[in-house]
Subunit: 182 residues, 2 copies
């Protein structure tokens, strides 16, 4: 009975940790990694400041884990939509969140730590989805090519605010180019 009866406190702790990560991810999307501070996270999760330092050894760790969570969600989303229509998958997503994701991806380029792992996980996951869409093996150059083109188009859409029609057309073109036998 003492066992699994009412493990209330630990359950609460797990919930709290998750709440902190959710808050961090949300802040990340809203204002980039600069917006993710202990205080901001705690306040958003409606928890005391000290909770953040208790559950995470440092701010970097908190950010890294939030990044990982964001990557998970993003990959899951991409897989489930199947990307039959790449564009709707792109256009429907929160622009700020995409920005945050990319920002962290770049940030990962500066330090070879955990962030780098998540970054690789993301890019390779995306590439796998694309390869699946194309019906070719994951490391097929055509998949890599299409994925690269998608990145460029994606960024142009998110940052430069390129019109959706142009993006749509470009993506179609890229798919054709990658599909066409060389």
């Amino acid at each position: 009975m003492t066992r699994s009866a009412t493990t209330q406190p630990q359950a609460r702790a797990v919930h709290r940790r998750a709440a902190l990560l959710d808050a961090a991810a949300a802040l990340l999307a809203e204002g980039g990694s600069a917006a993710v501070s202990h205080r901001a996270v705690a306040q958003r999760a409606a928890l005391p400041l000290a909770a953040t330092t208790y559950y995470f050894a440092s701010r970097d760790e908190l950010i890294a884990e939030a990044f990982g969570r964001l990557v998970d969600h993003e990959l899951a989303f991409m897989r489930e939509t199947g990307l039959d229509d790449l564009m709707d998958g792109l256009a429907g997503r929160d622009r700020a969140q995409q920005l945050g994701l990319w920002e962290l991806y770049l940030h990962a380029g500066r330090e070879p730590g955990v962030l780098r792992t998540h970054a690789r996980r993301w890019s390779e996951g995306c590439q796998a989805v694309v390869a699946d869409l194309l019906g070719v093996p994951v490391h097929d150059p055509r998949a890599q090519l299409l994925y690269s083109a998608m990145c460029g188009v994606w960024l142009a859409y998110i940052v430069d605010g390129r019109p959706l029609d142009e993006v749509r057309q470009l993506l179609r073109l890229a798919t054709e180019a990658a599909t066409r036998p060389s």
Copy 2:
């Protein structure tokens, strides 16, 4: 005589402003926009702290102008190397500086101010270079496509540290795909 004799002080001021911008750009490359603080810039330029607030209304303005300068340099470099060999142009550049550039590009996506202008100037400048290389008009979809692919490959190289050989091959593939008549 009073005229252009020894306009020393203004000349010094101009020089100082440039020195501050250079310092800011260098810091930007080293540690991202977070590393660009009034104090850090002043110290690096060997100038008193107050100089930064005198020549620039705010930190944002300083960063924006440094970004513009970085974009100028980058575009000039790309044009002068002609990109006969895209790869050597890519591989020879300072990785950290590229990261800083991209970081600011992303940051521009969050605010529609001056940063956005520079960001557009950069992406369109790059695209123009690519179009020139391909021998097609600037807004030709093929140029856009190749540029997009280049962005993706570029990022993979800078952030993920993808091997140069793979990048080289991918770029060749992209060029072929864009060149081939549709």
